[in-house]
Symmetry: C2
Subunit: 407 residues, 2 copies
DNA sequence: TGTATTTGTTGCCCTTGGAGACAAATATCT
DNA sequence: AGATATTTGTCTCCAAGGGCAACAAATACA
């Protein structure tokens, strides 16, 4: 009912403190392991020196941040202590995929402390997946130090997830429909569990710690084995939509004469732009998909131009053309400053950047200097771990007081 | 640089008061001329009775709101006074269009106090338009009472407007490119002037006072004489994008085999779905476009099925099919709760609602109960006046203290 | 070595919202 | 009609939080 972000709740004296604590913690969190000096926090928040001191002290007493002497002393004046997140509060990130379930222990600041992987199959039922995940989480929990405490679990689901309660509405890979994965996992582990779409969490990670750091409007497009997912940040906030299903850019129409998609429409982006035909043309298996990028580049650099390489180039150009159409629609709709490409879309783009860039010219204002930039994702394979952890941390970041009383 | 909406600034004691004042004023503003009781404000904000009393008193002392006895006494208990906006603070709304420039004097709460219209031609230069507008605004200013004061001017521009400074980057109707319309008008009138895209302001109006009242995620699609514009609200906030060009849904691809659009691409929504062919088939002129809706309905209700009416039906179905594709893409991207159709798109939809609704079925989750609703716009011809005024009021609504000192 | 600069630290003040007691105004029940 | 319950305005006092100014500390630079 009150989902509107235009503030309706007033601010009391207590929520004032809470918001300021959250602001400081978020700033420190976003600065990652490098941390940021107390004077920087003063400048960025606009708060008084004494206030920042008090806020940092409270966060420190709760064990969330720690102060240290600055390593390099550059400017004149009394050096300001560096405030950085501790690794006492940790989250577990989970990403169930076709072949395996990946997990990680992640600390504040986006640092991956430990990884774990369990094999899975495509015909896994939701309750089986919960079982597998729960035991894997318990393995990770054993690695926790005595001082560390678990904030919760974040799950990056390849499918549609209802934000409200984490219900997995649709996960095509596993054939799940309306599976309460989140609730089951939560009751099995007795920990708070939250879930969201994988690409939505991808853009969260990339926008906080990756290529989109500090950028308020960006679109993330990820090409995976079985489709294309999208995540959007606008005005500095993740775009979830009414229920959390926003960002399904894989179902943008790119070809009226295209193949019918599993969604029922024809010529969707993800029916026209696929990894499988590229791998096939290159003679690579699914497991060798890491080599896709270099193989494509090799095919494009080949001067002689064999029959096979020209076939590859044609397919790449074809796919890039369709990708361009979808990206153009996204730009016209969202006016982002940055398009981040992940998965095989990054490889596709790298093979012939000019093709996509030119394709983006066919839109209003394209000629002006205010055009968007297309870049590959910066975060590597940890992106979903970081994004899922970000989700798990979100409550803590919004209200550091709610957790762990001061000692 | 700091365009991100994730709070970076801390909250001091002064901004605390400012935010609470703004929250209360916004709530009263959104409740329109009906106003809302003080007890309602207490409940909705979560603030204390005494605090609300103080805040309302301050707003009243600034002349922005006034209290009055409740008209109907429904429930038990001491009756709570009704707080409603006054019409002392007013804004001027401006909408330059092909044939005329429309203006209005608008008060808080979205009430249109006076209207004005001056003839215009399509070949109007920007400076000529500024001249015309400025004199028209001066006419409206004379209607101001002695107690009223002008907040500023808001302009709804049929084209791309840079949010930052109101520069009109592109207005195809007039052939304007990078015209500083806003700055010129501001210096000519010596008043604050802000500008934005017309459909963006349309969704603001419709989302605040119209069909989307209280809904945090909605898309507004408007069909005009010369194209289709779109405006988006997500998470309760208008979606502007990096520079203000978001919402250009008229350039979504709907037909790979379509006509080339002025944007350079082929088969855009606005090349396939147009008002002109409908009017032509119905034998209506541009001036008679108000009758389009009833004429279409008549053609659809005709039982016998003349040659002409079946042609009309075919064209309507064709256009609705393409509209459905664009709407589907928007839904997949934004997951709105509501699609609001304005202009001739509302007429088109009304002629055969089932066609569009069925077309939306071809998307993930369409079968579930969580599907979107499609509705016609509620606000009539005043929509852009209200939206533009909303823009002009936005600074006041965000910080009621900055204006007019307490007497 | 002295000076300018920046920033942490401390004590005090001001503003703001909250809580509670009391009064006022209404509906409802007897 | 009168008593009672309920809701809400009003008033006074209080506590908490941030700002400010003075001082001290720590650095760069001349």
């Amino acid at each position: 009912m009150d989902s509107s972000k235009t503030r309706v709740r007033g601010i009391g004296n207590d929520s004032l403190r809470r918001e300021n604590l959250a602001t400081v913690l978020r700033l420190v969190h976003r600065s990652g392991s490098a941390g940021s000096s107390r004077s920087t926090l003063t400048a960025r928040t606009g708060l008084n020196r004494s206030t920042i001191a008090a806020l940092v002290a409270e966060l420190a007493s709760r064990g969330l941040v720690a102060e240290s002497d600055p390593a390099i002393r550059s400017s004149v004046g009394r050096p300001s202590p560096i405030v950085a997140v501790t690794q006492k509060a940790v989250a577990v990130a989970v990403n169930p995929e076709i072949d395996s379930i990946r997990l990680a222990l992640v600390g504040l600041g986006g640092s991956v402390l430990a990884r774990h992987r369990v094999a899975a199959t495509a015909d896994l039922s939701a309750s089986q997946a919960v079982e597998l995940t729960a035991t894997a989480v318990r393995v990770l929990l054993q690695k926790l130090g005595p001082e560390q405490w678990m904030v919760g679990v974040g799950v990056a689901v390849p499918g549609l997830v209802r934000t409200e309660d984490g219900l997995v509405r649709l996960a095509p890979h596993f054939g799940w429909v309306d599976e309460p994965f989140t609730a089951l996992l939560s009751s099995s582990l007795d920990l708070p569990v939250s879930a969201a779409n994988d690409a939505t969490l991808g853009v969260l990670a990339e926008g906080t710690f990756g290529a989109g750091r500090g950028i308020g409007d960006l679109v993330y497009l990820n090409g995976g084995a079985s489709g294309i997912g999208g995540g959007i940040i606008t005005g500095g906030l993740p775009l979830n939509g009414a229920a959390g299903y926003a960002g399904e850019l894989g179902h943008t129409l790119v070809n009226s004469n295209g193949v019918t998609c599993h969604c029922g429409a024809a010529g969707c982006l993800e029916t026209e732009v696929r990894r499988a035909p590229l791998l096939e043309l290159l003679g690579l298996t699914d497991e060798e998909s890491d080599e896709l990028g270099s193989a494509l580049l090799a095919a494009f650099e080949e001067v002689s131009g064999s029959q096979r390489s020209s076939e590859i180039r044609a397919e790449v150009e074809r796919q890039l053309g369709y990708l361009g159409i979808a990206v153009r629609t996204a730009i016209n709709t969202l006016n982002p400053r940055l398009i981040v490409l992940g998965g095989f879309l990054a490889d596709l783009y790298a093979a012939d950047p000019g093709k996509l860039n030119n394709s983006l010219a066919a839109r209003p204002l394209a000629a002006s200097g205010e055009s968007v930039q297309v870049v590959p994702a910066e975060l590597g394979s940890d992106i979903l771990m970081v994004g899922a952890a970000e989700l798990a941390f979100s409550e803590l970041l919004a209200d550091p007081v709610k957790f762990q009383d001061a000692s």
